[in-house]
């Protein structure tokens, strides 16, 4: 058991190749385990990944040195208020992120403009969170609408300290925003990517730095951003719950549970997924804005502390509703069902952990599904959705082929 050379310690583990800096995991240098374990690990600061564009020797040596001056990187200058622009999508599961983030920033005294894609008059704006944008305005935020490709015009030539793009899924869409931000002196650029870009693995969870699908549109944006920007951060979320959500999440389960319908779940129901309350995403984003140098150059899985199984989610929703649940499993292929249409979550393990945010920023998650779902259910009933007449065509098709009765 002699000390293994450096190369050996990184014998390929299929799923843990690093792409971006992987701070959170991966085996450390292979010391012989027999080496003295009286390790004097003096409390030291975190060193963020050096921007690929500016690896000056000076910067490198500051990374290397153990001098206490580098500890300044983690100090939050609470007094520093930022001017933040959020470019927000006008629909879909991510729309809620901009809404929570805007409100949190405003509550902390930062100034916020939220640019929603499209027209203020469009039908899309009648749905939450857009229907609640008055809350942003009354908190002192500005709401504008337009085409992100013409962002300078839409924001009326205003300048910002921070830009969050919570809209684009490919470089064509985000590049104009990045380019404008850089030329107008925006210091920090944040991008909402997606944990969906991780290459599926048999060694969960997905960790920051692991291999992503090169073909994914978001990857192009991430790479371009890292290339042209000095202070950047990328966020990879999964699913969200929260008041003001634009896309159904827990509602899908509530719809069936309150109507005493079976809940059809594809596969074994053991698939793990990560469902976070939108406030967790917002708090992570805010922490990054307020700790820009520590956060710079990093990827953050923007998810909650825990994963839940698909069956588990059904059970938690039923618990929140105070009802029982009848889960029915099916094999989508053999029935000829596209599970993407029939079910709101991926039919596979889809599980990332927020280790970079915890390690680098000391971020703490607060999502507590059992409790949060109770609140969600209260709102579900309050808006009368439990009484709303609904069609369950795909469910019926599934249940019929399984010969499961619809009524309990």
């Amino acid at each position: 058991m002699a000390a293994l050379p450096l190369a050996r310690s990184f014998a390929s583990s299929s799923s843990s190749s690093l792409l971006f800096s992987n701070l959170a995991s991966s085996p450390s240098t292979s010391l012989s385990f027999l080496a003295t374990s009286s390790l004097s690990l003096s409390a030291s600061t975190n060193y963020s990944y050096a921007s690929p564009l500016l690896p000056s020797p000076r910067r490198v040596s500051s990374l290397c040195s153990t001098s206490s001056s580098s500890s300044g990187r983690l100090v939050v200058s609470a007094a520093e208020k930022k001017k933040v622009l959020i470019v927000n999508t006008n629909s879909g599961g991510h729309a809620i992120i901009g809404f929570y983030f805007a409100k949190e920033l405003l509550s902390k005294g930062h100034s916020v403009t939220i640019l929603t894609v499209g027209d203020e008059a469009s039908d899309k704006m009648k749905k939450p969170p857009f229907s609640r944008f008055s809350e942003i305005v009354s908190a002192g935020g500005k709401t504008v609408w337009g085409d992100p490709a013409e962002v300078a015009k839409v924001v009326g030539g205003e300048s910002f300290d921070v830009v969050l793009d919570n809209n684009g899924k490919d470089l064509d869409t985000v590049r104009p925003v990045i380019d404008w931000a850089k030329s107008s002196g925006v210091k920090q650029f944040l991008f909402i990517s997606s944990a969906g870009i991780y290459k599926p693995t048999e060694e969960p969870p997905h960790l920051e730095g692991e291999v992503v699908k090169a073909s994914a549109g978001h990857v192009g944006v991430e790479q371009y951003l890292a290339e042209v920007y000095e202070s950047w951060a990328v966020f990879r979320p999964q699913y969200m719950i929260g008041s003001g959500n634009n896309k159904d999440c827990e509602e899908w389960f509530f719809d069936r549970i309150v109507r005493d319908r079976p809940v059809p779940i594809p596969g074994s129901g053991m698939q793990l997924t990560n469902i976070a309350h939108a406030r967790d995403l917002s708090s992570m984003l805010t922490l990054v804005v307020e700790n820009s140098s520590a956060a710079s150059g990093n990827i953050f899985n923007c998810v909650s502390d825990r994963a839940v199984t698909l069956d588990g989610m059904a059970r938690l929703c039923a618990q929140a509703a105070g009802k029982s649940v009848n889960i029915v499993h099916y094999d989508p292929e053999s029935i000829g069902i596209d599970s993407k249409k029939a079910f709101p979550f991926r039919n596979m393990h889809f599980y990332a952990e927020p280790r970079a945010a915890k390690d680098i920023l000391g971020w703490k998650g607060t999502t507590n599904l059992p409790e949060d779902l109770k609140e969600r259910y209260e709102e579900y009933v309050k808006i009368g959705r439990d009484k709303k007449p609904m069609e369950f065509a795909l469910d019926d098709k599934i249940l019929e082929s399984l010969k499961v009765p619809v009524a309990a």
């Binding site: 390790l39 003096s42 969870p205 291999v211 502390d305």
Partner: protein
């Protein structure tokens, strides 16, 4: 040249930083360019295997993981050094965990005694261990022969010796621990090997140290021991491993897969094979046990200790194949409810998700496991099964029942 890191690199001593200061990213880049090869369209450092960016996306960077890892210390990493030599008792220590732990402690300069019935040899030379190291270890390790279930003997013999630190590696029941505490009123620390098996089964994972435990579990003796330690208010630390693996493993974890892979047999895995479990290398566990010694941050704390990544059952079969240089295995899924195995166990893992977060140990103690899964399984294979050694003979009886059935059913 690359980044040859000397032993002790992680100690944060000045020398390693001085060495790294010389290597700006440009320097490293120049050195490593010729050592790159293509994989998945991205360049990979031959030296360490970590991916770095390819030119068409970004500039090529040195394996930033290697470079960065040398300087990155997890938050909360603290000064740990067992400053003085302690008189340490290990309950057990001749079978698996203790074999590695005792060596670390002896190397640290502690006076270590193993309490065992003496049924197994007190010391055994480890595969890969030099004669010199083994001789050195054997000459220093002490043995206290006895049956820990003989509580009176435990009390008197321990009181006579006056141990300062106790590692309880094989304790199962609280009543086995009480006499130890009685015998050593001045005990400085009681370090207990508990189990993540105490957690209440959940849909909402991973298990954190603060999660609900199951008073009815098979491991309730461990829970009762933890409660006793709290009650007696000694300076205790409890470690909860998940599945432990590594050379000398007496629990057929990796061995179960290796037997089948070697025999060229399909691997029968219950249900979907998507169940997620977690393995922790015994050497990392031993390191963790040493890390908590004399560590105020570990006082009266519970820590999950295991690998940083989890793995599906199917994934584990494949990882074992990789580790042993076997071709990718044929995996057969079956419904265990359809089959009566009698008293035999058809699969060595609990048929459920079972994994725990190890971030508390990481943030409080600066503990990061050294071994990734394939790497650790390779270590186990190279030092144990691959040399022709194993604890249990291959037994494919349940496999044959399953295979017989799957030929019959559609």
């Amino acid at each position: 040249m690359g980044l040859q890191v000397p032993l002790g690199a992680w100690s944060g001593e000045q020398p390693i930083y001085d060495e790294l200061k010389l290597q700006t990213p440009e320097n490293i880049f120049q050195k490593e360019e010729k050592d790159l090869r293509l994989s998945d369209g991205l360049l990979q450092s031959k030296q360490c295997g970590k991916l770095i960016f390819s030119p068409q996306y970004l500039r090529v960077l040195p394996c930033i993981g290697c470079y960065k890892r040398k300087v990155y210390q997890p938050k909360g990493a603290l000064h740990v050094s067992a400053s003085s030599s302690k008189k340490i008792l290990i309950m057990g220590g001749t079978r698996f965990i203790g074999v590695f732990l005792s060596r670390l402690l002896v190397k640290e300069g502690h006076q270590v005694t193993l309490f065992t019935r003496g049924k197994a040899p007190i010391t055994q030379q480890l595969p890969g261990e030099s004669d010199q190291d083994y001789a050195d270890f054997s000459s220093k390790i002490q043995h206290l022969k006895g049956d820990r279930k003989d509580f009176d003997f435990v009390k008197t013999s321990l009181a006579a010796e006056g141990f300062e630190i106790v590692y309880d590696i094989n304790g199962r029941e609280a009543d086995e621990v009480a006499p130890i505490l009685d015998a050593l009123p001045k005990i400085e620390q009681f370090i207990y090997c508990s189990s993540a098996g105490v957690y209440l089964k959940s849909d909402y994972l991973p298990h954190f140290e603060s999660d609900a435990v199951d008073p009815k579990s098979r491991h309730k003796g461990k829970l009762e021991t933890e409660s006793l330690l709290q009650l007696r208010d000694v300076n205790w630390t409890s470690i909860r491993p998940v599945y432990i693996y590594g050379p000398l493993n007496y629990n057929p974890v990796e061995e179960w897969f290796f037997h089948r892979l070697k025999a060229g047999r399909p691997i029968p895995i219950p249900n979907s094979g998507l169940q997620i479990t977690q393995l922790g290398h015994v050497k990392d566990l031993a390191t963790a046990f040493v890390r908590v010694l004399g560590n105020e941050k570990a006082s009266k704390q519970v820590f999950n200790i295991s690998g940083e990544k989890y793995v599906t059952f199917d994934g584990l079969a494949k990882a074992c194949a990789k580790a042993g240089g076997f071709p990718e295995p044929e995996i057969i899924h079956y419904n265990p409810k359809d089959i009566d195995f009698g008293k035999k166990k058809a699969f060595p893992f609990r048929d459920q998700h079972f994994f725990a977060s190890v971030e508390k140990a990481k943030s409080l103690l600066g503990l990061t496991p050294e071994f990734g899964l394939v790497e650790g399984l390779t270590d186990s294979y190279n030092l144990d099964f691959g040399r022709g050694t194993f604890r249990k003979e291959a037994d494919f009886e349940t496999d044959d029942i399953i295979l017989g059935k799957s030929l019959v059913t559609a």
